[in-house]
Symmetry: C2
Subunit: 152 residues, 2 copies
C-alpha cells in the first residue's frame, strides 16, 4: 500500500499553499499586488524565506513580479488559490457548523487539511454542509442527535 507516499505528490505543499493564499489576501487591498515583506509578516516567517519560496512559485508560473518587485498571482496561480479558498471556507464551515468544533480548533485543523482534500471530497463536504444547514424537521432531528452525543 503506497498511497501514503502520494502525500507530496500534491500540487501544493502546505507552505506553497499559504504563500499563495497570502499573496491573494494581501492583494485584495492593492489591486492584486503584494510585497515580500507583507507576505513575510502575514505568515510570520522571514523575508528571506519568502524570497526563496517565491523563487520556485515564479518558476512554476504561479506568481509574477513587476519591475518594482511587487508580486501578483498569475492566472494559473489565481485559479489554484480560488479553489483553495473555496476548500478552506467549506472545511471551516463544516467543522464549525456541522461538527460543532470550537472556532479556534477548527482554524487549526482546517488549516492543516484544507489544501489536501480532493475536488471530489470537497464537493461532497460542501453538499453535506449545505444540507445540514437546512431547517426542515428531518435535518433538525439529525442535528439534535448529533448534539446529544457531544458528551463524548
Amino acid at each position: 500500500m503506497e498511497t501514503w507516499k502520494k502525500f507530496d505528490a500534491n500540487e501544493l505543499t502546505h507552505s506553497a499553499a499559504h504563500h499563495l493564499l497570502a499573496v491573494y489576501e494581501l492583494g485584495t487591498d492593492y489591486n492584486g499586488w503584494a510585497r515580500v515583506s507583507d507576505i513575510a509578516r502575514q505568515l510570520g516567517i522571514t523575508r528571506g524565506s519568502v524570497s526563496i519560496a517565491l523563487r520556485s512559485l515564479k518558476a512554476r508560473g504561479l506568481v509574477t513580479a513587476d519591475e518594482h518587485r511587487m508580486v501578483k498571482l498569475s492566472p494559473a496561480g489565481l485559479e489554484i488559490v480560488t479553489d483553495l479558498a473555496a476548500k478552506k471556507a467549506t472545511v471551516k464551515s463544516f467543522l464549525i457548523e456541522v461538527l460543532g468544533v470550537p472556532a479556534e480548533q477548527a482554524e487549526i485543523d482546517g488549516c492543516k487539511i484544507e489544501h489536501l482534500i480532493s475536488r471530489h471530497t470537497h464537493d461532497r463536504l460542501q453538499r453535506l454542509t449545505e444540507v445540514m444547514r437546512a431547517s426542515d424537521e428531518a435535518t433538525k432531528a439529525v442535528r439534535a442527535k448529533l448534539r446529544n452525543g457531544s458528551s463524548h
Copy 2:
C-alpha cells in the same frame, strides 16, 4: 495569523505516523515485532530510509529494538498508534459512508489527513458518522437529500 505554522508542531509528521502504523500492522502477525525490511517493503521506501527514520523514533521513545534488531512499539508508541488507527478508521468511514466518496479517493484523502485532526474533531466526526448510519426516518431523509445533490 500564524496558525498555519503549527502544521509541523504536530506530534507526528506524515512520515513518522506511517512508520509507526507499519510497525503496528506488521506486528499483529508476530507478537508485536517487526523487521526493518518488512517496514520498508510495506511503505515502499528503502531499508536505509527506514533505518534512519527508526533512529529518531527510538530516540523519542516511541519504538524499541531487541538484540536481534527486531522492532516493537513502546507503550508510548502504542498509545499514539492506537489513537491514530482510530482516527484513520473514522475518517475513512466518514468519507465513504457519509460523504459517498469513492473508496480509492477516500483512501488517498484519508491518508493525508488522518493524523492531522485533533481529538476534538475526531470525536465529533465519529459521532456524526454514527448518527448518519442510523436508519430512522429523519436520517434517511437527510441521506436522501445528500444523494440528490451528488450530481455536482
